[in-house]
Symmetry: C2
Subunit: 424 residues, 2 copies
């Protein structure tokens, strides 16, 4: 048997996982600072939940990529492809929930699609959503979190904002019937990658006139919200955008982007996309989906919602490319090396009890082998324990970067200056 990973999946060894845990901590701290609470839902969902019309079933591309299987009872199941559909199911199943419900969720999602550079079949998503608030304040809150996250990460981004209601009106104005608007929107989502000609070609393939296609593209070229308000004086989408921008702090990063479409069928109002200015990739995306939860429930009362998914993988890619990730192989602070037959049990216990991440030779190796081991894992300090040291309760601590040594009791060695560096 040849040892292999399932295609499109990855291992994260400590040097990756430690960096991922640190990034996760940065993000969750900000989510919690904005009043979002954590939710966890299963990786496995029932196929009828995943395939429900308003969960994205209409945009059949996503459904083709679901990993499907049955349990022993013959129930049709699948692996979730995002964290929005499970949220809608959760809200639907918990009618007692006090609204607005602000939740964040961190989890793996699955898409059995083609493997391209930077695309995986198993990947992490970090979502923030606000359920139960139809006011633009909720969309503004989502954008505020986004701005804070990318400031904290030190990444240069453009937060593109548009509105589905504006886009639909422009499509209608180009002479396309409202039922076909969704098809056009999904195609427009490819403008960035396929260019105008590519999109016009795809629209023609899908049966639209060349004139219709060109009219739509042309209508996306106005510059300002005011231009669109003049063009479509009663359009609710333009009004919502005006209000949304008025609620946001002055921030050059947030821009009105009339051609932003977002490929999923369920968006109903503002849509957002965060573009990296360093790599031409999207780092986060989302929008308002006011109908999805109500439709799930079969209720006539809409339950409005808005939110955004952070692409953890592309964010890490950009951070890595900018050298903002340090790959640590170990979190151990002191590696204890017994000399000869000296028993290091007590000092190891003492260090750990003092809260120092401590590892110790388990193999009975000599000092030079042990030093090579500590070096391979990038452990900053070695502590030597000979029989004399053990008896005196005073040990030698060596800084493995500078070679500097210090002698003292455990309490002396881990106090002040040393601990400062340990905690860095």
């Amino acid at each position: 048997m040849k040892l292999q990973l399932a295609r499109g999946t990855r291992d994260f060894p400590p040097e990756d996982k430690i960096a991922r845990q640190e990034l996760t901590k940065t993000l969750t701290n900000i989510f919690e600072r904005y009043g979002f609470a954590p939710l966890e839902t299963p990786v496995i969902e029932r196929m009828d939940v995943l395939a429900a019309k308003y969960a994205g079933g209409e945009t059949a591309d996503v459904m083709k990529e679901v990993f499907r299987f049955q349990d022993q009872g013959g129930r049709e199941l699948g692996l979730r492809f995002d964290l929005t559909v499970p949220l809608a199911r959760y809200v639907g199943m918990n009618p007692e929930l006090k609204l607005p419900f602000k939740r964040y969720q961190i989890g793996k999602v699955y898409r059995d699609g083609p493997i391209k550079q930077g695309r995986y079949r198993e990947f992490w998503q970090y979502d923030v959503d606000i359920v139960g608030c139809k006011a633009m304040q909720a969309d503004a809150e989502i954008i505020r979190v986004v701005l804070d996250v990318f400031s904290a990460l030190g990444l240069d981004v453009e937060v593109r904002v548009n509105n589905r209601k504006l886009l639909s009106a422009l499509i209608e104005q180009a002479g396309i019937s409202p039922e076909l608007a969704e098809t056009v929107i999904i195609t427009l989502d490819k403008l960035d990658k396929a260019g105008e000609e590519g999109v016009i070609a795809e629209l023609k393939d899908k049966g639209f006139d060349k004139e219709e296609a060109e009219a739509v593209i042309k209508s996306l070229k106005e510059k300002t919200l005011d231009d669109y308000e003049q063009l479509l004086p009663r359009n609710e989408g333009a009004k919502e955008l005006k209000e949304l921008f008025s609620l946001l702090p002055k921030d050059e990063r947030v821009v009105f982007f009339p051609s932003l479409a977002r490929g999923l069928a369920y968006y109903t109002g503002p849509v957002f996309e965060v573009y990296s200015k360093d790599l031409p990739i999207s780092l986060a995306g989302g929008g308002r989906y006011d109908d999805m939860i109500g439709n799930y429930l079969g209720s006539k009362q809409a339950i409005p919602a808005t939110g955004l998914a952070f692409g953890f993988e592309p964010i890490l890619d950009v951070l890595k490319k900018q050298g903002k990730i340090t790959a640590k192989k170990s979190l151990t602070q002191i590696y204890v090396i017994p000399i000869g037959d000296a028993d290091a049990t007590t000092v190891v216990r003492e260090l750990r009890a003092a809260g120092v991440n401590t590892d110790v030779d388990l193999m009975g190796r000599g000092p030079s082998k042990n030093l090579r081991y500590a070096d391979a894992y990038g452990i900053p300090y070695a502590l030597f324990v000979g029989e004399d040291e053990r008896k005196a309760g005073k040990y030698t601590l060596r800084d493995l970067q500078t070679g500097e040594e210090k002698k003292g009791t455990v309490q002396e060695l881990i106090s002040t200056t040393t601990l400062e560096r340990l905690n860095q």
Copy 2:
């Protein structure tokens, strides 16, 4: 459509998830204090990896419970049923790894088995393993982590220790051929639940003589390690146990338990099981598996390993039963309530910038509705912002438990005494 979860899976709403995150933090802090580094592997593995003989394929019970499916390329895949098999695959695929490799892994695992009380089809496991050290020091290190974890959790446990080599010798001495020893061991694992008679009956069903079965059971009734050393003077298992106990701190919780079997085929030496003294359930289990990784690699050189999986779900069950879990619905510390048309944007931004978890009314509700909302989520403080307050930059902070109010600038309100309670 009726909204439903996949059978055997669960949602964790904030009041569960916050407690789970806190427990995770306690455990990972201890793992890291003992020099274990985090590893992540995919939830999806290739079926040939999961079904490999030494991965547990022989004990067919586990394989029957694997969720299986194919990707679009027709590859046979499955959801992992534990974190040990993926570790073996990872080590096999990374021959450059410096040994010993001490890793912890936290992840969901899947078993499509019967749903019983406290058993799920998707559940979390927390594993610690040491790969590449055949010395009993490694097994002792695993038990030291275990003792520290359960001390930190304040749970009363018994850490049962046995050795497969001892068990195999006893089975052989009862007249059973070594090839059948494994079948007997898997049956013995049920002693706790099925009792002596149940085990004897199952062994008879499996074709063993009544006398053989009774002889095995009888041989497990000696009390001390010394008894077994007298009984089997050259047995390596008894010697290993002697050494292991000599390396451990004096701790009444660790006991030699001659009938402990552990159901998996891959154990080769010491085996461990942590029993709760409060509920009759196992909270963690593991052992030494020296052959599995080498066999995976098809190499003749064994890569010894030992480790243990913490049952996150049963640990939480016991903690809950003992009232040691407080269910928080929110991590928000201050809920900001605008009065009338007052704009709270600035104070909210100030609070968040100061590191306070702050939420704010997004709905334009009145104060009493807002107070009910803050109360429903158990948020400790409300801050009121009227137009006068906004202009003066002085706000009223109300302790929602005591009703006590304080007036001041943001800096005054969040300083000293207040912050102390906020950080509890």
